[in-house]
């Protein structure tokens, strides 16, 4: 069992995955209460390979200032010290705070007319992560969990979605197996989940457990029992050295680690790339800098934008070098924007009305800006809500055509009734 997975070639690995997901384990199948009206239709598998196979969602916590990043205005029209600069793409201007990304602008595009209904951090953060407004007594799944439901598990052993420094929101109303795996500290990886006893003792215990399991498994050739045996095998595999390896960024070369940036966000992005490369589908990494510090003025701006510019450009370069950028989508966004006008102290307030998101790589048409804010940098047009952004990502991943029944039983689509932003998709 131990080496089965690593020895399989790609196509047999995929078929094993399907087999494991659909027949043996039964876990990738959505619970019947969540499926469409008839409950009998299997989830539709995309017939064509989707343009995007994986997503790295980079979250700028605290409200990223669009005017200082992806939606710069000519000096004088609005406040602040940022100004637009030319980029690799003639159709896209970025702020002078993002010189490294400007050099890769052919591969990235910007949505400049994002809008959200609330200016409170925690509620806006919830909307950006689920597509839904927060409601008492209800937790919605995040996109990685939805993707697992639509597309199945992305790897037989590794989790399908991972959250790095992004809390532990759980699977929402989906069953526990749809829960993203939370990782607090990228540098520590999954060390805290692993057994404290030595490998030798663990091996002995596992060997005993397997022997004591045989009588029961033999008498009950039952799918549920087999599913548990398989989960045990997966878990043991997961805990053994080679499955902890994907989570160990100490294995990355030192110069690469430095390029990503010597801070939790940079190291998190590096871990994200490492995991994506090994079969995880959806990863979120939260910035280490807090954009809410912009209340106090733009003095912190260099610190904020350097982290963003340095890490995201390093990630794009690294993925391009590995020929993975065209199949991996990178999303950079935040809960809401910052006012275009500056306050007396030079700071910027919350601005839910209009803000930006950056999308790059798999499934994304590069080098363009979609939507705009008006000349004062205020009202967005056309308005795109977080659920529309989700639908765009979902479309690129090939998650189309399946109705999700929102509980307690009313039919509904992912994130309400969203419109995918077609112009930005390649």
């Amino acid at each position: 069992m131990k080496d089965t997975f690593s020895n399989l070639d790609e196509s047999s690995r995929r078929s094993f995955l399907l087999h494991a997901a659909y027949s043996t384990l039964g876990v990738s199948l959505a619970p019947s209460y969540l499926l469409g009206a008839e409950n009998t239709e299997p989830l539709k598998k995309p017939t064509v390979k989707p343009p995007c196979e994986r997503v790295i969602f980079l979250y700028m916590k605290g409200g990223m200032s669009q005017a200082d990043t992806f939606d710069p205005k000519e000096k004088g029209t609005i406040g602040g010290k940022s100004k637009p600069i030319k980029t690799q793409s003639p159709d896209l201007l970025l702020s002078d705070q993002l010189p490294k990304l400007a050099q890769q602008a052919k591969d990235l595009s910007v949505i400049r007319s994002m809008t959200t209904k609330t200016g409170a951090h925690s509620q806006a953060r919830y909307v950006m992560h689920t597509g839904y407004r927060q409601k008492t007594g209800m937790t919605h799944p995040q996109l990685g969990s939805w993707a697992q439901m639509f597309l199945g598990k992305s790897h037989p052993v590794l989790p399908s979605s991972v959250l790095i420094a992004s809390g532990n929101p759980g699977p929402g109303f989906l069953p526990p197996d749809y829960s993203p795996m939370p990782i607090g500290n990228a540098s520590r990886g999954i060390k805290d989940l692993l057994p404290e006893i030595n490998q030798e003792q663990l091996n002995k215990r596992v060997r005993l457990a397997q022997k004591f399991s045989s009588a029961f498994s033999h008498y009950f050739p039952h799918d549920d029992v087999k599913a548990y045996s398989d989960f045990y095998n997966q878990t043991i595999k997961f805990m053994s050295g080679d499955m902890a390896e994907p989570f160990d960024i100490q294995k990355e070369p030192g110069n690469l680690r430095a390029q990503y940036g010597n801070h939790p966000f940079g190291q998190g992005a590096l871990l994200a790339r490492r995991l994506i490369e090994r079969g995880v589908r959806y990863i979120e990494v939260t910035s280490s800098q807090n954009w809410d510090s912009m209340h106090g003025g733009t003095n912190s701006l260099n610190r904020l934008s350097n982290e963003l510019d340095g890490t995201v450009s390093a990630l794009m370069n690294d993925l391009r070098n590995r020929d993975m950028l065209k199949s991996t989508m990178i999303v950079v966004t935040t809960e809401f924007g910052r006012t275009p006008k500056v306050k007396g102290n030079g700071g910027r307030d919350h601005h839910p009305n209009g803000f930006s998101a950056m999308l790059a790589g798999g499934g994304i048409k590069g080098g363009i800006a979609v939507g705009e804010t008006d000349a004062d940098g205020r009202d967005p047009f056309p308005e795109y809500e977080p659920k529309d952004l989700h639908a765009t990502i979902a479309t690129a991943l090939g998650m189309t055509g399946t109705k999700i029944r929102r509980l307690p039983g009313r039919p509904s689509f992912l994130g309400g009734k969203p419109k995918p932003i077609k112009e930005i998709l390649s």
């Binding site: 002995k204 399991s213 009588a215 039952h222």
Partner: protein
């Protein structure tokens, strides 16, 4: 002065305690009822056997004493039996010892805890409802008491659906308060749980393939049209009530009220401020400003503004009518909600008795006579005679769930080994035995806790004291403090003393048996029914599929996952159980014979003796039964699928 005050605090503290445990109502049905129970067993056997014969099927093989004991303990008390309980039962040589055991367990504290878990799942009980504004502990306390006192099921439902007033005066209102601001959804939950009908689609539109129209949905929901949930300030109070409330309020002026505040807040300056705040709070509450359910004749539930069909106009008010069946009489002068409750819980309401009978059958057999439990259609039922019989038995036994459980546990079908292969959901199942069930998250957790510590049910979540119990300054403080500072608490039910409050430093001298801590890790060794509802994210219970108690009735899951098994393999509960302080480990200390030690571990965890092959393996691997070897054995047996399946 200081000495005097300290003394006063001590007296106050020791003077008031939470209620002390009392045994549940004994299971002692009348002769007439026993006669009905015996006939019921025969009739159910006939109904099952007729179908089996028709399809040329046999029952599965029978259960030996070990398997029987494990199953009934898990099914009735929510945990596997202890080594002593198991051995005592197996060694008994009375002919009807199985009936004795069932009778005994039906009157156990474990039964109350386990049944509470079942209803908590069904009713989606959360410790913190409505963002913590409603204290659900009053409701859960009431529910546990109702089970404890053996309240008939239809009575329980009647009390919840018709409940009026503040949750302080009538805790049953917690059922309605749970779904504040979601009345239409509440109607859909109610029909799923109590009538086995899923009408949710008709909430928004006529459903082409379903029986109900949107108009019918609203007509049924209109029974709740006058229901309002909010502050009870405007509820009219009688003179007597008013004077009672005024009397209670005066108690906050008593010096003991102030001393009680000081004993909690230590610093004089803080305590003085708090005294004022709590007095004001008390006044607010007694003036009726507390979550309440009441009827307001001016409220109604019209059709939505976007109503799209020709049979009624948008915004029209409908005459209430039942979604299934017919009216069963009763006073039309009563409030609409009381009329609904009367009809719902009436013994002649066939869907009501059928729904609970089918649910109870599914609890013990792993599957309803017809599925899904929340949406029964007779055309899908492979054995209508059995379903009809069960519903009739439910009515004949006056909705006594203990007597009904007794009946199911005595049927031939229950007393068989579980079916060996998985039965597809779509496949008809005719009950040659129960299906193979994984234990619920609560059963697994409670079983582990029972292996770790002695008498875990000693620790209970207390019911906050009710307004009626407020009779001096101290209890007035206690009352208002509980309501305004809704921290999770545990009480030692054998003494009535508060032993744990959320947020306290757990390193304080709590008893080892309640709280275990190592570094940053800690667990409360209480049963699932006494932990926060639902257990917090990352808790063992959550990983094993405890319901989130959100938007789905019976959303608990029995599916495995990698994080779940990592918890069982590496988690803190396993570390505690395999450690030297666990109850199981301590039992082993007193046994000298190494072989006997291994056998006790087997009997304690899998509740069976090792097979010949396993004995040989034990001889090889457990030569000396050292502590480390025993830890390894406990770990290994916990991590076999056999541990959490009910054979």
């Amino acid at each position: 002065m200081r000495t005097f005050l300290t003394l006063l605090f001590t007296i106050c503290l020791s003077g008031v305690a939470y209620s002390v445990r009392t045994p549940p109502a004994p299971f002692n049905p009348s002769k007439e009822k026993v006669a009905i129970m015996r006939v019921a067993v025969q009739r159910i056997n006939q109904a099952v056997e007729q179908k089996l014969i028709e399809k040329n099927l046999n029952y599965n093989s029978g259960l030996n004493d070990f398997l029987f004991a494990r199953r009934v303990y898990v099914d009735l008390t929510g945990t596997i039996p202890s080594y002593e309980e198991l051995v005592t039962f197996v060694n008994r040589s009375v002919s009807n010892k199985r009936t004795y055991l069932i009778n005994q367990l039906l009157a156990s504290e474990g039964y109350v805890s386990h049944n509470y878990n079942y209803f908590a799942d069904l009713l989606r009980i959360q410790t913190k409802m409505q963002g913590g504004k409603i204290n659900s502990a009053l409701f859960t306390g009431w529910l546990k008491d109702s089970i404890h006192q053996d309240k008939p099921y239809n009575r329980l439902v009647y009390e919840m659906v018709s409940a009026s007033g503040s949750i302080l005066e009538n805790p049953a209102t917690g059922y309605l308060l749970r779904d504040k601001d979601m009345k239409l959804d509440h109607v859909a939950f109610m029909t799923k749980i109590f009538l086995a009908k899923d009408i949710a689609c008709a909430q928004c539109h006529d459903h082409p393939s379903e029986e109900w129209t949107q108009k019918e949905y609203y007509a049924f929901a209109s029974y709740l049209g006058e229901l309002e949930i909010g502050s009870g300030k405007n509820i009219k109070k009688s003179k007597k009530q008013k004077s009672m409330l005024a009397e209670k309020e005066k108690l906050t002026n008593h010096p003991t009220f102030r001393s009680a505040v000081r004993s909690k807040y230590k610093k004089f300056s803080v305590a003085d401020k708090k005294t004022k705040e709590l007095k004001a709070e008390f006044k607010d509450i007694t003036s009726g400003n507390h979550p309440s359910a009441f009827d307001n004749a001016k409220s109604n539930l019209p059709l939505p503004e976007d109503y799209q069909y020709d049979d009624a106009k948008p915004g029209e008010l409908l005459k209430p009518s039942f979604i299934v069946g017919r009216s069963l009489g009763g006073s039309t002068k009563k409030s609409k909600r009381e009329q609904l409750a009367y009809w719902l819980a009436h013994p002649d309401n066939g869907w009501f008795s059928l729904a609970i009978a089918n649910r109870m059958w599914a609890r013990y057999m792993g599957r309803g006579v017809v599925e899904p439990l929340h949406d029964v259609k007779m055309k899908n039922c492979p054995n209508p005679a059995l379903l009809k019989t069960l519903a009739e038995v439910m009515v004949a036994l006056d909705f006594d769930l203990r007597a009904f459980s007794w009946v199911i546990l005595h049927t031939n079908a229950y007393n068989r080994l579980a079916s060996r292969k998985k039965i597809d959901e779509k496949e008809d199942y005719l009950f040659p035995g129960p299906i193979l069930r994984r234990m619920s998250a609560e059963q697994i957790w409670d079983s582990l806790v029972t292996l770790m510590v002695k008498d875990p049910l000693r620790y209970r979540q207390p019911s906050p004291i009710s307004l009626a119990e407020v009779n001096d300054g101290w209890s007035a403080f206690h009352f208002v403090d509980n309501l305004t500072d809704e921290k999770y608490r545990l009480v030692d039910s054998s003494t009535g003393n508060l032993v744990l409050t959320e947020g306290d430093d757990y390193t304080a001298s709590y008893e080892q048996t309640l709280m275990t801590k190592k570094g940053k890790k800690s667990i409360i060794l209480a049963r699932a029914s006494e932990l926060p509802q639902p257990a917090p994210a990352g808790h063992f219970l959550q990983k094993f599929g405890q319901s989130e108690r959100l938007f789905v009735v019976g959303a608990s899951s029995k599916v495995g996952s990698v994080p779940q098994l990592m918890e069982l393999m590496n988690g803190f509960p396993t570390e505690v159980l395999t450690g030297k302080d666990s109850l199981l480990f301590q039992k082993l200390q007193s046994i000298a014979d190494p072989r006997k030690k291994a056998e006790v571990v087997f009997l304690s965890i899998l509740n069976r003796k090792p097979t010949e092959d396993e004995k040989e393996l034990l001889l090889q691997e457990m030569e000396n039964s050292t502590s480390e070897e025993l830890s390894d054995l406990i770990w290994a047996l916990l991590n076999t699928p056999e541990f959490f399946f009910i054979k």
